[in-house]
């Protein structure tokens, strides 16, 4: 249960081609995250899998069965929407029971499953309230509850955490990951937040303008990004990319070094620059170093712990030799 295969899938809205031919394999029990900038087609891709949009051409298989023409209800998938899409006139209990009621399940079974879902998601205290009386996090859990009672082949999440505040988001991220560990059901998750992607995914699919830039585990993407787009997108703060003279020394058109792979020193090093803004987070300190002669943009550097360098100080930077990424003129990685 829960194996989804996309074969040469395309999608156009009128003349606009949103998704050029695309192949993707989602294995059973995997937590797959689609990540990319706004408008890259990741939500469209999810809606194609859900069946809420028709594919223009290509084929979608779910569990080895051709599902391309199946209506959403027949695909055995459950979806959690960005706006939660709870039914405002129904209580939490009725919201969660709705898919079961539509499946004409008998009353006792519905009650049992709704009770279980409510217990798992800590919703028992609010079970008779309406969605309007719940906080954002609780609504999110009701939406998840409505998805899990159906025991679907796979869960689809469409940016489910983007309406929550930062603290709640971290908590819900953990809950969804734990849910995945417990249920072992395939989950497909769309987000524009690469931190969510890195922390939750078994497999990340980086999308850019409808094209899959790279598929891999979070650490694969972090260690060996296949091109400059992935290099710049994965990692926080983002990788420093610079070209010309310095890159040429390494036989590349562009070279990239992550902020955490640059040594900072007040006395000596390969590159010299001036500290601009220093962000002291306590555990880490991020420096924006100007006037290095490497790139127009300041170079971001991470130093562990508290470092007493301040605005205007001169610093010396040294990249860790084995952590330098090299890219050719097309932006593709040089191994």
């Amino acid at each position: 249960m829960g194996r989804i295969t996309l074969n040469q899938v395309t999608k156009s809205f009128g003349d606009v081609n949103v998704i050029p031919p695309l192949d993707l394999e989602i294995d059973e029990g995997e937590f797959v995250v689609f990540v990319g900038p706004s408008g890259c087609g990741k939500s469209t891709l999810l809606r194609l899998i859900a069946g809420l949009e028709d594919v223009t051409s290509g084929r979608i298989d779910i569990d080895g069965q051709d599902a391309t023409a199946l209506p959403p209800a027949k695909r055995q998938l459950a979806m959690v929407f960005q706006s939660y899409a709870l039914y405002p006139h129904m209580s939490v209990r009725k919201n969660i029971a709705f898919p079961l009621k539509m499946a004409k399940m008998d009353k006792a079974e519905i009650d049992r499953r709704v009770g279980n879902a409510a217990k798992v998601l800590n919703l028992s205290d609010y079970i008779d309230r309406r969605p309007g009386q719940l906080s954002g996090g609780q609504r999110q859990r009701v939406a998840i509850g409505r998805a899990i009672v159906r025991e679907p082949a796979a869960f689809l999440f469409d940016e489910p955490l983007s309406n929550l505040d930062a603290a709640l988001r971290v908590g819900m991220r953990l809950e969804i990951s734990e849910l995945h560990n417990r249920l072992k059901t395939t989950m497909v998750y769309v987000t524009h937040d690469q931190v969510e992607a890195m922390t939750m995914a078994d497999k990340i699919v980086v999308l850019n303008a409808g094209v899959i830039e790279q598929v891999g585990s979070p650490l694969e993407l972090y260690r060996s990004p296949r091109n400059t787009f992935v290099a710049g997108f994965i990692g926080s703060p983002k990788m420093n990319l610079f070209g010309e003279a310095e890159a040429a020394k390494h036989n590349a058109a562009t070279m990239g070094v992550r902020p955490e792979h640059i040594q900072v020193s007040a006395e000596s090093g390969d590159w010299k620059g001036t500290v601009g803004v220093a962000e002291h987070l306590g555990s880490d300190t991020f420096f924006h170093v100007h006037d290095t002669g490497l790139a127009d943009d300041p170079i971001t550097v991470r130093a562990g712990g508290e470092v007493s360098l301040h605005n205007g100080d001169t610093v010396y930077l040294t990249p860790e030799a084995d952590k330098v990424h090299r890219f050719d003129a097309d932006g593709a990685r040089i191994a």
């Binding site: 039914y87 006139h89 539509m102 409505r146």
Partner: protein, 290 residues
Amino acid sequence: MATQHSRTAARFMISPAVIVLLGWMLIPLGMTIYFSFLFYNLLQPGQESFAGWMNYRFFLTDPSFLDAIQNTLLLVGGVLVITSVGGILLALLLDQPIWGQGIVRILVIAPFFVMPTVSALVWKNMFMNPVNGLFAFFAKNLGFQPIDFFAHVPLASIIGIVSWQWLPFATLILLTAVQSLDSEQLEAAEMDGAGALNRFFYIILPHLARAITVVILIQTIFLLSIFAEILVTTNGGPGTATTNLTFLVYIQSLLQFDVGGGSAGGVIAIILANIVAIFLMRMIGKNLDI
């Protein structure tokens, strides 16, 4: 607006509007009540005298009174059912993306802009006339006996005409309500396995509840006082078949010149309208504060 001073000033400044509105309502109401206790006939001017409850007794025991109440309720109820059901269906239809959507919507709303007297006359003379009317033409072509609408089904004909006038209003309000429904909710219901009918009954209809309430309340207010359509088509007849309360008051005061009796009828109509309003609020008013 928080200090004592600004609150006093605010009250002072809204007082002209409040006084005008109160006068607008209370003076005619007071005069109606006053006239209802007088023998006041326009054929005998200057001979008004105190009548006590005579006018009320006269009006309530009028044999047409019960007919009028029944007709009023049938008219209001019939139009409400037709316009709300038809309005929901039309709203759902107009919400579909179709070619020429703007023009179609304007056409649907058009009947609302036609004056009641005009639309009633158009229906009477061009559609329902048993000799020249369009319906008679179709009936004859199909080999049926044309129906003389205003002679055989007078109340139903008037319900039809009034429904045609009010359908656009219901459609318009319900269409905006349909459009305000979050499409993700419908998609979620679709994923949850709800078919088109279940989506309608479990998602769309509850969402429309408030708009339907508004349609029913507003229409009831206007439908209780339907007059022009009856005057230009059936004149309350045949017999009392299409006489509603408004029309009965008109007969009393302007055809029989009995201002006192008419006023008593008016006061009774106000009381009945309030009873209907209380029942309506009880039944559907709870929808207004979800």
